[in-house]
């Protein structure tokens, strides 16, 4: 039979089956089981109404149980067993122990953590920026469509596109990778100094200054505020300030490095093999994709900020920056958090991009690809399942928090 025909039949059966199930089960409930007639009519109506929600939930519960809950339990079980020949044997936490001793696992963990910080932060920041800026220009909707477009591309497709961007050819022939094409333009002259030394240094210093200012703002509240600051808040603010200090240190050392680095002008670069930095080249792909998502959601949220609070702030003397950061952003904080956590979950599961671009080589491994490696390439079900459990454990708290926040937003 033609597959298309099969598909049509499947759809027909599925939709029809749903209709038959919901209609039939409700009919059975109302006509046969608890008919609203006779001496117990009132009691029957109440009982029928108590059962009805379950009729509607039943298919979803069964399917979720079958395809979600059961696999979780099965994976947990697999992670505690070891394959011996054709059978398996219970080994307790041996798989986990083996995983922990592997360098590649810790590399994945570390990379995942960097992804976890960088991608949601950048995507949300760029999304917010794009949302604010596109709302103010005439062709904003076109810009928005363009920024949103990557969302429609599969991760693998996006990876292919970016692989081309990072591609490198022999120095003698023309570069087809955009990044190398630009890179080959630098030859150590005045523009190279301007773009590769001065600009990064300025940007990094500006970043350091901004972070230092924010960190100072966090501490200042504790030091000078006229309101009482709770112990927990003090701790959080202290930690935030410390992270800020660390970021300042990193930025400054990078700025120093940018001044001193000996740049290999004229040599095409294999960007995806430069250890440590290649991670960021991979992250760029996901940021490119997720920015559109963040922008769409945040743009809707920004529109929801009451116009008169903005006007009141303008009358109060706030400049556009203050209006944005002190009036608009705080009012959409809930949405920002939801966007952030949603992207965080996507990031924790990141797999396709790494698989398609480096396959975890050159120290770019991430947990999901590590799991895939173990499960389907090495055929080691025990360790593979163990790493799957680790991913789930990492996602869980964020997921719970996300649902909590989303519900709070809805109220």
């Amino acid at each position: 039979m033609n597959p298309a025909l099969q598909a049509v039949i499947t759809i027909g059966l599925g939709v029809g089956g749903c209709l038959v199930y919901f209609y039939g089960s409700n009919l059975f409930l109302d006509k046969v089981l608890y008919p609203p007639r006779g001496p117990n009519a009132g009691r029957n109506i109440n009982r029928a109404n108590m059962i009805r929600p379950w009729l509607f939930l039943f298919p979803a519960i069964v399917l979720l149980g079958l395809y979600l809950a059961y696999p979780v339990v099965a994976t947990l079980w697999l992670s505690l067993n070891k394959q011996v020949g054709t059978g398996s044997e219970f080994v307790g936490f041996a798989n986990y122990a083996q995983m922990m001793s592997e360098e590649k696992f810790w590399e994945s963990m570390q990379n995942n953590m960097v992804w976890l910080v960088v991608v949601p932060a950048m995507s949300t920041a760029f999304g917010l920026l794009a949302a604010q800026l596109t709302d103010r220009i005439k062709w904003g909707n076109i810009a928005k469509s363009l920024i949103f477009m990557p969302m429609a591309i599969s991760f693998v497709g996006a990876s292919v596109i970016w692989k081309l961007v990072y591609d490198s050819r022999d120095a003698a022939v023309a570069q087809i990778g955009a990044l190398n094409a630009v890179w080959m333009k630098f030859e150590g002259g005045i523009w190279s100094v301007l773009f590769l030394r001065v600009l990064p240094v300025v940007l990094l210093l500006a970043f350091a200054a901004a972070v230092a200012w924010v960190a100072w703002g966090m501490v200042r509240v504790v030091l000078q505020s006229d309101r009482a600051v709770g112990g927990l808040e003090k701790l959080a603010r202290g930690l935030g300030a410390l992270v800020g200090l660390w970021l300042v240190y990193v930025a400054l050392s990078w700025a120093f490095g940018a001044v001193r680095a000996d740049l290999p002008y004229g040599v095409p670069q294999q960007f995806l093999t430069i250890p440590y930095w290649n991670n960021f080249f991979l992250m760029a792909v996901l940021i490119w994709i997720q920015t559109g998502f963040a922008m769409v959601i945040l743009s809707a949220a920004l529109r929801g900020v009451p116009e008169d609070t903005i006007e009141a702030a303008i009358i109060d003397g706030a400049n556009p920056f203050q209006v944005f950061f002190k009036i608009k952003v705080p009012q959409i904080m809930g949405t920002i958090v939801v966007v952030w956590t949603t992207i965080t979950i996507t990031v924790l599961k990141v797999f396709d991009i790494v698989l398609a671009m480096t396959n975890g080589q050159f120290q770019t491994q991430v947990l999901a690809n590590y799991m895939y490696d173990k499960l389907f390439r090495a055929g080691d079900w025990g360790v593979g399942s163990a790493s799957a459990m680790v991913i789930m454990l990492l996602v869980m708290p964020i997921l719970v928090w996300n649902v909590y926040n989303a519900r709070k937003e809805m109220r």
């Binding site: 006229d226 702030a313 009358i315």
Partner: protein, 361 residues
């Protein structure tokens, strides 16, 4: 100290001019109220004064300084919005300090200003609450407090009481009146739909209609000597009765034979050449007196509304669709379905020709 001067101010959205030829001289310490039908441009005019809306023509100055292109924050104004426009993520204290923080005032100064405003408005217990934990009246007071702390030269209010229930509206109205009393040197501009607010608060009322100013004057002036039919009907509730007729006798007292058969005498003087002119006479419902003799109007009472101290009489609709309304003292429910004749003191009978009062020619 603030004197506002609007000269030939106009506002156009593209081709459409929603306001034109606005000339207004607001003196220090006045409380000016803008009234007018919905959509006549009250809010727009107020927002132009605030600087939230661009002035597309004419000049606007405060204390002689042209303000057309000065940003809102530097105009020395503060605005209270109909929807309060409190910052939902800030406590009452932060809401009130925001402008001062932006202006980089010292923390002590801010604290003192906020505490003082909170005391005046009885908001001290709520300073650490978020706006969502306040009642409507309290929110409105915070919005007013936010203005007070900045000590502006001009206060602008856009229908500040319209979201409050009737009792609270009266209470807050009195508070605003007291506030005005306490700050005799500040100028206030107040937009409202509510006539009572306009009549009780205003030192002068500006009636806006059809994109222009219909009349400017003290509440009593507007009530007693309306310049045109629009103001006559807009001020006062129920509104003034207008009846068409023809001048039959001129002089210090003008006599008008009405189309409905009545005879009206008005203290508005006319000249001999007016004889035979088509005019409208206007009588406020409360100025009608029951009579058995010569009547301005005789008709069948359709409905009576006894309000206690007065009774409203709604007469059967006239041929032109106008329904005459009378207001008589006391409870007069027995007049329902009877024929009643009404007259009025000539001093209370207004005279209009071509929509304009003959008093002002």
């Amino acid at each position: 100290m603030a004197e506002l001067l609007l000269k030939d101010v106009e506002k156009a959205y593209g081709e459409v001019k929603v306001l034109k030829d606005i000339n207004l001289d607001i003196k220090t310490g006045e409380l000016i109220v803008f009234v007018g039908p919905s959509g006549c441009g009250k809010s727009t005019l107020l927002r132009m004064i605030a600087g939230l809306e661009k002035i597309t023509g004419g000049d606007f100055s405060i204390d002689g300084v042209r303000m057309n292109d000065v940003p809102p924050a530097q105009r020395g104004i503060a605005m209270v919005f109909q929807s309060y426009a409190l910052y939902p993520h800030m406590t009452v204290r932060d809401n009130m300090s925001f402008a001062l923080k932006i202006a980089k005032k010292s923390p002590e100064e801010i604290r003192a200003a906020v505490d003082k405003a909170a005391r005046i408005l009885q908001l001290t217990p709520y300073l650490d609450r978020l706006p969502k934990a306040l009642s409507g009246g309290q929110r409105q007071r915070v919005a007013i407090g936010r203005s007070i702390v900045r000590d502006p030269k001009v206060y602008l209010f856009d229908e500040p009481l319209s979201n409050l229930d009737a009792a609270l509206r009266v209470a807050t109205r009195i508070e605003i009146a007291q506030l005005k009393e306490a700050m005799p040197n500040s100028t206030m501009v107040y937009v409202t739909h509510d006539q009572v607010e306009a009549m009780t608060l205003a030192s002068r009322i500006v009636v806006l209609a059809g994109g222009g100013i219909s009349q400017v004057g003290s509440p009593l002036e507007l009530y007693e000597r309306p310049e045109n039919e629009f103001v006559a009907q807009f001020i006062g509730s129920p509104s003034m009765n207008l009846m068409t007729g023809e001048v039959v006798e001129t002089g210090e007292i003008t006599t008008v034979r009405l189309d409905n058969g009545g005879l009206a005498r008005s203290a508005v003087p006319t000249i001999a050449s007016d004889t035979g002119q088509k005019v409208k006479i206007g009588v406020r419902p409360e100025d009608f007196i029951e009579t058995t003799g010569e009547a301005i109007f005789t008709g069948d009472v359709e409905i009576t509304e006894a309000l206690g101290e007065v009774t409203l009489l709604y007469f059967k609709k006239q041929g032109d669709g106008h329904q005459v309304v009378g207001k008589l003292p006391g409870i007069r429910s027995e007049l329902r379905r009877t024929t009643v004749s009404l007259t009025a003191d000539p001093k209370k009978v207004h005279l209009f020709a071509n929509g304009r009062s003959l008093l002002y020619r």
